[in-house]
Symmetry: C2
Subunit: 335 residues, 2 copies
Amino acid sequence: MDLHDLPTPALIVEVDAFDHNVATMAAALPGDRLRPHVKAFKSTALAHELAVAGHLGFCCATTREMAGMAAAGLGHDLLLANETLDVRRLQALTTGADARITVAVDSAETVEAAARGGVGEVLIDVNVGLPRCGCRPEEAGRLADKARSQGLEVRGVMGYEGHLMTAPEDEKAARVERAMAKLTAAQEAVGGDVVSGGGTGTFAVNRWCTEIQAGSYTLMDTHYGATDLPFRQALFLWLTVVSVNRSAGYAVADGGLKALGMDHGNPTVVGGEVWYCSDEHTTFGPGEGGTLPAVGDRVRVAPAHVDPTVAYHPRMHVVRGDEVVDDWAVDLRGW
Amino acid sequence: MDLHDLPTPALIVEVDAFDHNVATMAAALPGDRLRPHVKAFKSTALAHELAVAGHLGFCCATTREMAGMAAAGLGHDLLLANETLDVRRLQALTTGADARITVAVDSAETVEAAARGGVGEVLIDVNVGLPRCGCRPEEAGRLADKARSQGLEVRGVMGYEGHLMTAPEDEKAARVERAMAKLTAAQEAVGGDVVSGGGTGTFAVNRWCTEIQAGSYTLMDTHYGATDLPFRQALFLWLTVVSVNRSAGYAVADGGLKALGMDHGNPTVVGGEVWYCSDEHTTFGPGEGGTLPAVGDRVRVAPAHVDPTVAYHPRMHVVRGDEVVDDWAVDLRGW
C-alpha cells in the first residue's frame, strides 16, 4: 500500500530509522546487557524484532504487558519493573503464562502480594533519586530477607535513575555514578546477580547496571531527540491537512490530543510550526521561510513523548519511503 | 461489586453527579436545543442516557464516532462537526448506516468529498475566531452555492467559539455575541434553519445558536471546574497507592500519563497535591494539613481535560457511593 492511501490519523514507523536504532543499541549493549522496556511501544510485534536482534529478556510496566508478552512466546525472562498489589492479576499471570516471571518489590505489602500471587522471583526496587517507587537503599537488605522468608527468590536489585535521562551531558555521567552508588550499596546487602536500571538517556554512561532498561530508543521522540543520543526519530503521526486559512496563515491537520502524548508539550510538524493541538486537530503555521500546505496534503508529526503517544493507537504502520511494508498491532494497551 | 474490588487504574463515573449534570443541562436546553458532543465521552452507553433525557440529535468529531452511534440505534440526526476528505470512510458511513447524516464543510475540497462520499446534507462551517477549521464568514454563501450545485442539501451553518469557553465571565457574553454575529451574518447568506455552535463553557450565554454542541458538561474536568458552571465533577481516575516514601513525604499511585489527558496540565488528587505524573504513576504529597495515605489505599484523581482522558480507557465504571452499579464501554475510540 502507498503511504498516501493510509487513512489518517495513523501512527507510522520509518523502518530504516528503527533498524538503525535497534542495531546501534545492540552493538553497544548486546544480548542480555539490554532488557528492552516494553512500555515504550506496547507491541509484541516490535518486541519480536528486538528478540531477533538478540535481546531475549524484557521488562514491562503492567501485568497486561507481561501477560501479552508471555502469550506471544516472548516469556524467556520477563521483569515487571513496577510495583503491584493486585494479587488476582499476579495469580492469573503466574498460573497462566509460560514464562519466567520476576516482579519488583519495594515494601512489605508488595512482597506479600508477590508471594500470594505465586511469583517465584523478585528484584528489590531501590530509590536512587527519582521521586517514585523504590525502598530507601538502607532498607533493601531487610526487605530481601523478608522476601526470602516468604519463599521468594531474590535475583538482585533494580533502581531507575529516571530523573537523569535528559540531564546535561557534562553532568550526566557523574550524577548517574552517584545514583548507582546507592544501588550497588543496596546490592551488597541484598545479594543476587542482577543490577537492573538505566534507560535510553543513560545507556551509554551507566556502567553499574548488569542490564539496561531502555525502550524509547527504538522509536524516539523530540524530547530525547533534543539530546546527544545516536538514535533517529522513527515514529511519526501521519495526518491529512483538512483545512487551510491563508489569510490567517495556518493549516489544520486531522489529529491532535487524542493521538499524542502531551505531557512534554507540543509535537513538531515536519516543515511547519505548531500553534496548538486540540482533540482531533493540530493547527500549524508554515515555519520560517516555509509555505503553507494545501488541503489534502499529508504531514508528518514527531511526538514529544513516545510512550503515551503509542498508547493511544491500535496499531503502527511500518513504512519504507512511501510504501507501507508492515503493520504492528499495539496489542499491550490497557491494564 | 464494591468499588474497592475494582482493578486499578480504572475510570469511574459518579452517577449522582452525572445525573445532576444531565438534568441541569436538559432543563436549560431541552430536547434538540442541545446537540450533545460525543467526542467528550466516546460511549454509546452514555449517549443513550442523553437520548433518554430528551436529546436525540448528536454531534461527533470522527467518522468512527458517527458509525458507532448509528450502529447503536442513535442515528436520528448525526452531525460530523468536523472536516474530512476521507471519501471511503464517508461512503462506508452513508451506505452502511441507518441514520440521518450531516457533515460540516469549509472548502471546495470538503464539499467535493461530501458529495463523492454520498452525504446528503451539510452545514457550512464558519470560522468565528478560533484558529481551526471554518471558512471566512464572507465565503459562506458562495460555498453553500457550490454545495447545492453538487446536489447537497445545506441545512445551515456551524461555528465553534472554542476560544471563548473559559473566557472571564464578565467578558464572555459580549465576546460570544461578537463571534456569533459572524455566524448569523453567514447564515443570512447561506440559508437553512440550523445555526449550530457553542459548548459547555458558553451554553448559558450563547443565544444565537439554534442548537448547542456541548459534551464535557456530562463528566466535567478541573479546567471547566475552575469556572462558574453549574456542573459537578463526575469523572475520576481510581488508583491504588502502590508505594509510599514517608521520609520524602510522597505517595505513588498506579496510573499516570497513559490514563490522563495532560495538555491542560496535571490532574488533581482528591486529598493530595500532585508532584508529577509519569507513564504509569502519579506521585503526590499529602496537601496542606493532610496526611500521606498508606500502601494499598485508593485515591480519586480528577482529570484536567476530560476528552483525551476518556480516550485512553476501554470502559467507564459507573458508581454510586462505594458500589459499582454499571459499566459503560468507551466504544467509539480510534478512527
